[in-house]
């Protein structure tokens, strides 16, 4: 039998049929939806008189366009309120489970689905959101889709797709102190660029990922799309099984054991061939930051901004108001955001709290901490982390996508820098004219305490 990759095994088991010289019909097990990219798909089906095919395989949450303060009160912005109301109406009408604002399971779609055990190895998952790649951390095929495709999955629980090529990124060795999963993925993207993964599904392999927690693996897979890859995957193992076991929608008892036996058959066969392979040495990775307007423009925090001649590079630096060749150490920073589907899980807040404990936020800094879900919020309080944050002057808000894309009121003002644990540093992403510097929760926490970027490597041990 031919050697197969993890991706091949999951993909091939979901192919319903193949169109001659064309795409394949891929079956989708789980469809996650939210308020921003679903309404037009509901409209489309309604206009065409097509019913939702499998409502019980759809789970909805409100996250992109929700306030992170006073969630118990009516949403102030009329358009946002209407969009959230529309989601509730659509879900109710079509018998779709919705965890709306204030529900104990509400949260960012890529945080709440794994913590409820909806995300499982070997399944296919989609959502009208490019960071759906997050769920690949469990060995699932998970990817973002457009609204037309949301309508297709509503109508048929399938998508027409051409099988992507395979890519493997292997990182072996020992990570240095202070290097978090976010640094690992920012490092990989800085080396490979923002489009090296386009047309590919990426598997992450090597002891660095094997030793990572599920939260860390999700951070890594989350940013696969930032190098162009539709999805990222990590082979399921004992860490995965242990994480899933006992969660609300996880298989129970004998069924769980049966599933585990199947999940164990999923990892890439020894000798399977990838279309493209990259290898990195863990010891070369250091805490990272970005200096430009795409996630590939990253450097080790101790390095200087490179010098390049091309027009897009110069445009990017001009937007950021940085000089080629300069260091970012000691740059004053007035805004810090710890949150987003990349870094808003309990482990991220533990990492931040661990550094912040006993310290105070700098006077000049506004520091927002936005948990990924209600469950994470509860955990932050129960573990006593909220007290640490309160004492240090950080503001713990309510769950949602928040300042990652600034659809709600959580916007970084014009011209201000924000050291952010989110995933995109595009122009104006966090508010018109805002300047985003991507980093790990540890670097973000340290920036908030110091009021400027520091070389975190010198402050550890």
């Amino acid at each position: 039998m031919s050697k197969k990759t993890l991706f091949d095994k999951v993909w091939d088991s979901h192919v319903v049929s193949t169109i001659e010289n064309g795409p394949q019909v891929l079956y989708i097990d789980k469809h996650l939806i939210h308020e921003v990219t679903s309404p037009q798909a509901f409209n489309e089906l309604e206009e065409r008189g097509i019913p939702i095919f499998r409502p019980d395989q759809i789970v909805a949450t409100a996250d992109h366009n929700t306030p992170t303060l006073n969630q118990d009160q009516p949403v102030k912005d009329a358009l946002s309120r209407q969009q959230l109301k529309q989601l509730s109406i659509n879900c109710k009408k079509n018998n779709i489970t919705l965890y709306e604002l204030g529900h104990k399971y509400n949260g960012i779609v890529h945080v709440m689905a794994p913590e409820l055990g909806i995300t499982q190895p070997g399944i296919t998952m989609v959502c009208g959101d490019s960071h759906t790649s997050t769920h690949g951390a469990f060995g699932a095929i998970a990817f973002g889709i457009g609204t037309s495709q949301v309508a297709q999955v509503f109508a048929s629980q399938c998508l027409l797709l051409t099988k992507p090529k395979s890519l493997r990124v292997t990182v072996n060795g020992k990570l240095k102190n202070g290097v978090l999963p976010k640094d690992v993925i920012l490092y990989i993207i800085s080396k490979l660029g923002t489009n090296s993964g386009t047309g590919y599904f990426c598997e992450y392999a090597g002891n660095v990922f094997e030793e990572m927690s599920m939260e860390g693996r999700m951070t890594v897979c989350n940013m696969s799309i930032e190098m162009g890859a539709r999805g990222g995957m990590i082979a399921p193992d004992e860490t995965t099984f242990k994480y899933i076991k006992g969660r609300k929608f996880a298989p129970k008892g004998e069924e769980f054991e049966k599933k585990v036996a199947y999940w164990k058959s999923l990892p890439t066969d020894e000798g399977a061939v990838f279309d493209k392979e990259y290898h990195f040495d863990a010891s070369d990775i250091e805490p990272m930051i970005t200096y430009g307007t795409n996630p590939g423009m990253g450097i080790k925090i101790s390095e200087n901004i490179p010098v390049e001649e091309n027009a897009s590079f110069k445009k990017s630096l001009a937007y950021m108001n940085f000089e080629a060749g300069e260091s970012l150490i000691n740059k004053p920073i007035n805004y810090v955001f710890i949150g987003s589907c990349t870094n808003s899980r309990i482990e991220d807040f533990r990492a931040a709290a661990n550094y912040i404990k006993g310290k105070k936020k700098a006077q000049n800094v506004t520091a927002w901490l936005v948990p990924g879900s209600k469950q994470v919020e509860v955990q932050i309080i129960e573990e006593g982390l909220k007290d640490i944050f309160d004492n240090a002057g950080f503001q713990l808000r309510q769950p949602g996508c928040s300042a990652c894309l600034a659809m709600n009121d959580d916007k970084i003002p014009q011209g201000e820098y924000c050291v952010s644990t989110s995933n995109r540093n595009f122009e104006g992403r966090q508010g018109q004219g805002s300047r985003t510097i991507l980093a790990s929760p540890l670097v973000a926490a340290a920036t908030a305490v110091e009021g400027k970027i520091i070389d975190i490597t010198k402050h550890l041990n």
Partner: protein, 196 residues
């Protein structure tokens, strides 16, 4: 979906790489629950200054350029999966986007909205941009049946790739929902004997 066969038009040169979907349509305009009106806000923060006045340096605001073809730098449409980006470009009046590389999700979204993404070589893109910038009246012809893009009154022409199935859809104005709904029996049979 509207059919696409051939198009002859002048073009607008957007000589910037890595144009992401946040630039095409900023998140604050994603609050609508229908597909209307996105064209008004396409490239909003590049077309307008912070005070709301028109940014006359931006190519879409330069009177010498017009047409329903957008020619953009490498890796066009990266970032978010928002189909609003395709709706905004179509809403503004574009029918074709030319680049040397497209992000996956954007490409799919474009094709699902009758907007043809034409991927050309770096060399052809550079020639094309140069021709348009030196003469904004340059006419470009895109022929989907033959899969060619040519610059009129020159010998510059290139073949482009498109998935055969998607080509049929574009030529006839079909979309994927039609195909999938017609194959429900097969999907149900698959569900009944899933192996995982």
């Amino acid at each position: 979906m509207e059919k696409f066969t051939t198009l002859k038009s002048t073009a607008i040169p957007l000589n910037i790489e890595n144009v992401d979907t946040d630039q095409i349509i900023p998140a604050r305009f994603l609050k609508a629950t229908d597909k209307k009106g996105f064209g008004d806000n396409v490239f909003r923060d590049w077309r307008f200054n912070k005070d709301g006045s028109i940014n006359s340096d931006f190519v879409l605001n330069k009177s010498e350029y017009s047409g329903s073809i957008l020619v953009a730098g490498n890796n066009f449409g990266c970032g978010s999966s928002r189909e609003h980006a395709a709706w905004a470009i179509v809403g503004y009046g574009f029918k074709v986007v030319v680049s040397s590389f497209f992000a996956d999700i954007f490409k799919g979204n474009a094709l699902n909205n009758g907007l043809l993404p034409v991927q050309v070589s770096e060399e052809f893109l550079s020639d094309l941009l140069q021709k348009i910038e030196s003469n904004p009246k340059t006419v470009i012809e895109v022929n989907l049946q033959n899969q060619t893009i040519s610059i009129q009154d020159s010998d510059l022409s290139e073949h482009f790739e498109i998935d055969a199935y998607k080509k049929t859809c574009m030529l006839n104005g079909y979309d994927d929902i039609d195909y999938l709904v017609n194959n429900k029996k097969q999907i149900e049979a698959f569900e009944a004997q899933k192996t995982y």
